[in-house]
């Protein structure tokens, strides 16, 4: 086991807890200030994936939900690197994604948006980053969908990401958006992010990542808190 260092959570990068334009924050955002604590062993350790080996199917959403055919929609490749704040890769960390289908419908039973389910698409995948911190998913481009936050509210196309990171202090759940989406300008969830940091949530189209006669490629790098490689001994010295 090793423990990691972690920088402070950068509140200039992350959305605030209370964000009135996003209505659900009103009853769910804590009202007392967070209590600052020094990070110790409890925060600088964290789980690593120790389950059965992940396969190609786990990261191929165009195949892992098939029943009697291919999912409908525009096939895309989503790839990128998971890095720490020094720019060093974060290897062997679990990346989990979930998303709506091409019509903008989630398989979740609570999703009541009037758009069709796709019998051949679930919309969930997982993979581990390689030694260079690279992850890669095959999927279809998720559709936009309507929600009830405010009149005529629509979520931009997005893919949900969850990363374990090297320690629980570096745990991250976020969403990846697509370049040029006109709905971004109206989305209170995206707009909750401080202006200077918003662009970090938008993937870049990449012709290099695009596979001829197969799928468009999008690049989305993710930066987790802290630096890799600080050994646990440091903790005991302090």
């Amino acid at each position: 086991m090793s423990a990691r260092s972690a920088a402070d959570r950068d509140w200039d990068s992350h959305p605030p807890l209370l964000w009135p334009d996003y209505k659900s924050t009103a009853l769910r955002a804590p009202q007392q200030p967070l209590v600052k604590i020094a990070r110790g062993l409890s925060e600088l350790t964290g789980p690593a994936y120790g389950g059965p080996p992940l396969t190609e199917l786990d990261r191929d959403l165009t195949r892992n939900g098939r029943r009697n055919g291919e999912p409908l929609g525009e096939r895309i490749i989503v790839t990128g690197r998971v890095l720490d704040e020094t720019g060093a890769p974060v290897p062997n960390t679990l990346v989990e994604i979930w998303q709506a289908n091409a019509a903008g419908r989630y398989v979740h039973v609570a999703d009541q948006h009037d758009a069709p389910l796709d019998p051949n698409f679930v919309g969930a995948g997982r993979c581990l980053t390689d030694a260079d911190g690279v992850y890669r998913f095959l999927t279809v481009k998720p559709g936009a969908y309507s929600w009830r936050n405010h009149p005529n509210a629509w979520r931009p196309n997005h893919i949900h990401f969850s990363l374990l990171g090297p320690a629980i202090a570096s745990r991250l759940v976020t969403q990846m958006y697509f370049p040029g989406d006109p709905l971004l300008a109206f989305d209170p969830i995206f707009l909750g992010v401080p202006v200077a940091a918003r662009e970090r949530l938008i993937a870049r189209f990449s012709l290099e990542a695009t596979q001829p006669e197969y799928a468009l490629g999008f690049l989305f790098d993710i930066v987790l808190r802290g630096a890799q490689g600080t050994l646990m001994e440091t903790l005991f010295e302090s």
Partner: protein
């Protein structure tokens, strides 16, 4: 993207209402695997067996039906596990949504953690995600039957004295098992203490 942007933290976003089939597929009976679940320690792990049970309550006092709760804890020896699911039967890592129980409870089967050091009382690290939270919350569960250890704990000492009780799980008399109750209150006079770690 400039180099300075590349080294800045990727912003958090809400987990949203529809994480269940992605992160907790087994619990919610969707196809697919999940990395860990409510079983943090299986029956092969020596140590005092406990169950941690609670709800997440919003500002109206309503139990939240779409929260995801993760826990990370040391074993009875005070050591953290290396892997989420190692050979030992103890992962130290649990994950459960509040949407499958009729009362929106989460429930973890585990062993009581030991102290990770002289100035640390036994505790469980808790992370809370949900729709309406743009950034996740960190808190800690301490045990109400560890009064002397709690009195020496460095982190509890940073918490205003009149709020420390919000971090104490209460041991409840339940036949045949040891249950600690830990409700997480997002707002109100009994708001749980959340940490900036």
């Amino acid at each position: 993207m400039s180099p300075s942007q590349e080294s800045s933290q990727t912003p958090s976003q809400t987990i949203g209402p529809f994480f269940a089939y992605g992160l907790t597929a087994r619990q919610y009976a969707y196809p697919g695997a999940q990395v860990t679940d409510a079983i943090v320690a299986d029956e092969t792990v020596p140590g005092p067996r406990i169950r941690i049970e609670g709800r997440v309550l919003d500002g109206a006092g309503i139990a939240v039906p779409d929260a995801l709760v993760e826990i990370w804890q040391a074993g009875p020896d005070g050591r953290y596990a290396a892997d989420a699911r190692g050979n030992s039967g103890f992962s130290g890592f649990g994950r459960q949504g509040t949407g499958t129980d009729p009362e929106c409870r989460f429930s973890f089967v585990t062993v009581k953690p030991g102290s990770v050091g002289a100035e640390h009382a036994p505790h469980v690290n808790v992370i809370v995600f949900m729709r309406g939270l743009l950034s996740h919350l960190y808190t800690r569960l301490y045990f109400d039957d560890e009064a002397s250890a709690n009195a020496r704990d460095l982190v509890l000492a940073l918490v205003p004295a009149d709020r420390r009780h919000t971090l104490l799980a209460r041991r409840e008399p339940v036949a045949g098992e040891t249950v600690y109750r830990f409700d997480i209150r997002l707002q109100g006079p009994e708001e749980t203490v959340f940490f900036d770690v």
